[in-house]
Symmetry: C5
Subunit: 270 residues, 5 copies
């Protein structure tokens, strides 16, 4: 990491990244809960919420929708990704060059790295090229650090997540996105291992407001620098409400109860 490289995608050093690459990674099924989210414009609208510090999308979605939102949305170019139609040892195609991401106006790149996969070596080398190209463009670098593959028995154990965030530091990410390791202590261990690299918790599949906000609160208490979230926002009928709650926790150090109130207040306003 380079001090300040993530400034464009953080606020007061904290990040709330809205991720919307599920159309590639999971396919249309992720839009079933709220069919309107099939339309990227819906999610770009959500991303104009003040709480959101960056929106992560694949190249094609950026080409088609970002130009209309460039004043209101910060673009995080998710460079790699693969469909789940393919079911081999974890790997990810590089679908977007850094030069073209910069040309389209991205302020940072996102890159999935499957430590432990039989493709780890190849992915690390692809990450190297992307990371160094990002440096040439003064873009921030976010690593989706997801240990996964035939050798891994438990990919959310405390030690695996601590290793995951460390990989972000060692390989040169400004921010490491890791799965929640299950407790504040485990998150704290992961944060320590990342050193100066920031750590954001991955939102994961949808849970209840309270469960989700509680987990985010624990992650922040453990020292996390924010959240990267997709389904837990856009699969809700009122994504603005949960974003209000998340904003309270991440940027205003609110308790879960305060965050739920913020959330409820908005829902009542509807």
């Amino acid at each position: 990491m380079i001090p300040g490289a993530d400034d464009a995608i953080t606020r007061d050093g904290k990040a709330l990244i809205l991720a919307y690459d599920h159309g590639l990674e999971h396919g249309p099924v992720d839009f079933d809960p709220v069919p309107e989210t099939t339309d990227p414009a819906t999610v770009f609208d959500v991303a104009t919420h003040d709480a959101v510090t960056a929106l992560a999308v694949q190249k094609g979605v950026a080409e088609a929708y970002y130009p209309e939102y460039e004043e209101d949305v910060t673009l995080l170019a998710k460079l790699n990704g693969t469909s789940n139609l393919w079911m081999g040892e974890p790997d990810s195609a590089v679908n977007w060059s850094v030069d073209y991401a910069a040309e389209l106006g991205a302020d940072a790149i996102g890159f999935t790295f499957y430590g432990g996969s039989n493709h780890e070596v190849e992915m690390a080398e692809e990450f190297r090229e992307a990371q160094e190209a990002a440096r040439d463009h003064d873009m921030g670098v976010v690593m989706w650090s997801y240990p996964r593959g035939q050798g891994l028995k438990d990919d959310t154990s405390a030690s695996t997540i601590a290793y995951a965030s460390r990989l972000g530091l060692e390989l040169g990410a400004d921010i490491a996105k890791v799965k929640y390791p299950g407790s504040e202590d485990a998150m704290s261990w992961a944060v320590e291992n990342a050193g100066n690299t920031k750590v954001v918790m991955s939102g994961g599949s949808k849970t209840s407001d309270e469960a989700f906000l509680s987990t985010v609160r624990e992650a922040m208490d453990g020292g996390a620098d924010g959240l990267a979230v997709g389904r837990n926002v856009f699969q809700r009928e009122n994504p603005e409400a949960i974003l209000d709650g998340l904003e309270a926790i991440i940027f205003e150090d609110a308790s879960v109860e305060e965050a739920l109130d913020a959330n409820a207040a908005l829902e009542a306003d509807d």
Copy 2:
């Protein structure tokens, strides 16, 4: 997709792409029904029909025949393709560079992508290079999005086709060419998943006039932006007739009956 990038290969936002790369993909057998179609000039003549917005061919065919038709035919450079003499896990060779396609006068590129194949990652990366090179040349990008491979049980299910069209959007195609998913509703779902990327139905193997036009009508009713067709045009004795019918449906919103009339009228003129 980039707004307007497909203008050269569409009319009023609709496409009728005539595809003629069967000599590579299937071999001489596809010319058996109408032996004259072995000669590319025959199909270039067909492509001068007003209804046809672009003709998709491989490099060698373009080199040899396009120069004589450049006033009357819009060239879509089909970049990759593989013979069916080879029978491995779905893959496709890149036979044509984008730079050379532009030099020969192509207005757009076509690229087959087999999501779900063990070669998906490699093909996605080849698509990236082609797509970004096409952007440099202001050429449109059409993805033949055909999920296929050892992990796929049903490659024309509604969810597979919706995923296929979504891959076109996510990876940066201006137009996604997908197989017909069997119903207007399924086509509609696929179209929604493509967002601003246009969707054209793939013509498939030859059927009767009525059956074919009915399917195209359903696809258009489902929101498709047109058709990419080969055998269902050039394997007919009178390809102009079916093109008249297709023109009526695609560009004039005709019913199947009206289209069959247009078709019959021409055949009667013969």
Copy 3:
């Protein structure tokens, strides 16, 4: 193919290519019948015969012998090839860059393509690079189109050879070199499938004068544009005699009997 690209290696649109890359492909055993042919100079001398429109050799042979013959021999740079010491799925190493072939004075390139091999995709992509580089140098392109590999049961069936010549057209060869498919009709089908790409028959292993000339006559009657031959010329004691016969058939439309007379006349002169 590009009209005129093969002019340097044809006469009146017909080709008689003398191939001499057997030292690489088969090893010394092919020189046993006429040991003098071990010395490339012997075959370069043969290639000065008026009937020969081009001599196909590998890089090293061209470097060592072509400079002394550049006034009298047209060089066809055979770019790829592999020893038969190696016995894997058909593949061929690219031993010569197009730039260097041009520097050495070659007027055209030759490239083996094994459609149907597990290496088909890779070979097609190597062919793409070579073909496009040849275009930059205004060099002709000859494809040795030899379907071969684990999926092919009969590599000289009529449909396989028609597919082979079609691959030459689709992928951008000016001339496709194919094996004789066994009859005039089959050759005719192959020629039709090649469109504007020329088709030359591959000479194959040595047969009697009459058998060989008869086959060439049939191929020409089937519409072939000439011959590419190695062993059936240089494995004869008097290669000039058979070249006289071939010249009569290919360029003067002679019958087999006339060709045998031309042949005999020369042999009598010896």
Copy 4:
């Protein structure tokens, strides 16, 4: 090796390289003995000790921490490395380009080479590129020469280590880092095989002060040019003390007893 190329990372021709890439290679577990060492700043502080001639870290750690220490620490850019989450045949990803290492201020590169691995050929070619790029930047080259892989039964035998150091010489390293082969004689053999390439002993896993210093003393007596050490320094509560002892042996030719005294003196000062 090139005479003088290692000057920036040696003193009087001797090297004491502090290695701290364990976060990548082994993960957080290596920081358990002294949790403060999870923070790279702690180890950079240790590296300011006069005895340390260079600090070897991965790119991300260098980006984040080296700028604050550039006056006091000499940077050795460890270019490759892989997590132990992955458990295949030994290999190592190239995570850092030489150009970028030079840009960040590194004076030398470090590169792991697993002779005997099924990836040996590939790693040797990656080493070639790195080594030659380092020459362009006048940077020293240190090879972590660790024979390893399915064909190796004993990777610390005298003959294996002598081969390992020879590989450093043959392939162009200025310094070869090898495991201790078990005796002064064996080390001497390894040193002879390295010719003008310097040889440093690899520190290995943590042992007692006396055992460790005795081994280093033996290595130096065998002709080694120093030490590259990680855990045996930073896994101690008082790394400065052991560095005093190492300095005495490596640079002042002290006996083990004298070194232990130096060590004890400092510990007493604490």
Copy 5:
């Protein structure tokens, strides 16, 4: 081959190449017979003998020792090579770029080619790049042509060696280094197959003075253009003596007896 390209590494058209890459290929064991040869300087001294027309070493050895000998030794840059710690299907890593070899002052390159190996295609393509780069630098090209691999039953049969030398010619080597095929006739066949490419016999493992000189005499009688030798020179206590004998045979057409006398004379002088 290009006439004259080997002038810098031959005398009167004959070559006596001293090879010293055994530290990489075989490891320290090859230095056991004469331990002083572990030190490359010892062998560089031997290479100053008038009989030696070039010394073949790997990059690292050239970097470290050649600068002091550049007035007295002609450098042949052995570009590829692999340790015997690795035991897979024959392959060889390219450890040295031609550009850097030229920069270090090499007059020619050496390249191992394992025809028949499953890596033959890849090695041929690496050879292509090296050979053509050497042409750009006006450097000679020596191929270590060693058919080897799973398909080869007898790698020193007459037909295999004749094929090996032919591969040198076909692929563009100025000199082919082949194993001795067992008789003068077999060597003669190999020489004929190499055409204008020179052929040098490979020295092989150490034998007695008489046996070795007799073999070299036979090879020269068979038309060989010299010798490339390592162990049969440097594993002798008095390498100058055997070089005197070799000089007599190779450059002065001496008999074995005369050569042994030359050899004995020198040994008596010691």
